[in-house]
Symmetry: C2
């Protein structure tokens, strides 16, 4: 099975397949047709077959897809079975919401450290993880393997923080700031979440009275 040249749009649909397959499994559904998956995904059966064929295809004509097998394959494809170690930088509103509210274990991700520059919150915990002084970042990362950093800091602090992380060998980022990491570090692997950009896009759509 070759994962090369899988389009961005297919990859972005995989987490949704995964979520729906988890739901089907929880409801004790053994097999699902491409037609049913298409209905849940709001696409066509042909699109579903094409998407899943990118990864080798798991279905048999007329029998549908085996739910658990397909779910497990998608787990492997997405790498949700890897147990990545994450650190979160910035325990403000959004950082706290991420650390406290998300079920990372289901995604094979574990937050092993939380850092902030505000000494008033050092020692506080979020989900039993202590908030540490950002000045201890280097010593922490030298002692603890870290795969990915979640950036929940103000834009002003981003350039310096990303430089420090990059110098520590961390090249994977979940970026909630407006700092352009890939512009500075072309080999970084980054997913950006720019909430205000999304809000502004919604404003446009409301203004135009239509979905974009």
């Amino acid at each position: 099975m070759s994962n090369n040249r899988i389009s961005k749009s297919v990859i972005r649909r995989l987490p949704r397949y995964y979520r729906f397959l988890c739901e089907l499994e929880e409801n004790d559904v053994d097999r699902v047709s491409s037609g049913k998956l298409a209905e849940i995904m709001r696409t066509t059966a042909s699109q579903v077959r094409q998407d899943l064929n990118c990864f080798g295809g798991f279905g048999h004509q007329g029998y549908g897809y085996p739910v658990t097998t397909l779910k497990n394959e998608i787990i492997k494809i997405l790498g949700l079975n890897k147990n990545y170690k994450a650190i979160l930088i910035g325990a403000g509103h959004i950082g706290t919401a991420i650390a406290a509210g998300m079920n990372f274990s289901k995604m094979g991700v574990e937050i092993v450290g939380i850092f902030d520059s505000n000494n008033k919150i050092f020692g506080n915990t979020i989900n039993n993880i202590e908030i540490k002084d950002i000045n201890t970042l280097e010593s922490f990362c030298k002692e603890n393997h870290t795969d990915v950093a979640f950036l929940c800091i103000p834009k002003e602090a981003a350039a310096d923080t990303v430089k420090r992380l990059y110098n520590l060998g961390i090249k994977n980022f979940w970026n909630f700031t407006h700092y352009d990491i890939v512009g500075e570090y072309p080999d970084a692997i980054v997913e950006n979440v720019h909430l205000s950009d999304i809000m502004m896009t919604l404003c446009y759509c409301m203004n135009e009275g239509k979905n974009e």
Copy 2:
């Protein structure tokens, strides 16, 4: 100036243009070339000219774009000058982060009500806005004009809540849950933020060792 048939990808770039133009304006830059904008946007000058031409074009060959004029035009195009009234449903981790941490006034949006079902937090405030009983949603919306709802509730509560909002005439949603609003209400205008899907996409990219 006709805004019809502007592609989704152009619309999604406009908030970034807006942000960069705000920065240029703060730095007292009067005019900016398509080349410079392209550099900031990490695209080509030709792409920039093409994007801005969708809205009628504001530049003059050889003179670049007037920063403030262009910024103001984008404000109008995005509808950031509209003063939309928003209510936020679900004052949990993500809802609190959204209400407390984002600068909505810059986007022409005002949160006028926050609702939750947890009676332990009724009367608490976030950014001076009181958290109200979700049971008062109908009476509130009948008395207060509401353009858009931010949904920060568990998936289990989403179908019922969206139905209530839709019946109150609210058809614009910023949706942080995994409930498929458009699937149920095709005329709804929705921006989804599925954080776990984005995290899983990042897992895929880390697993593959590449940007998608």
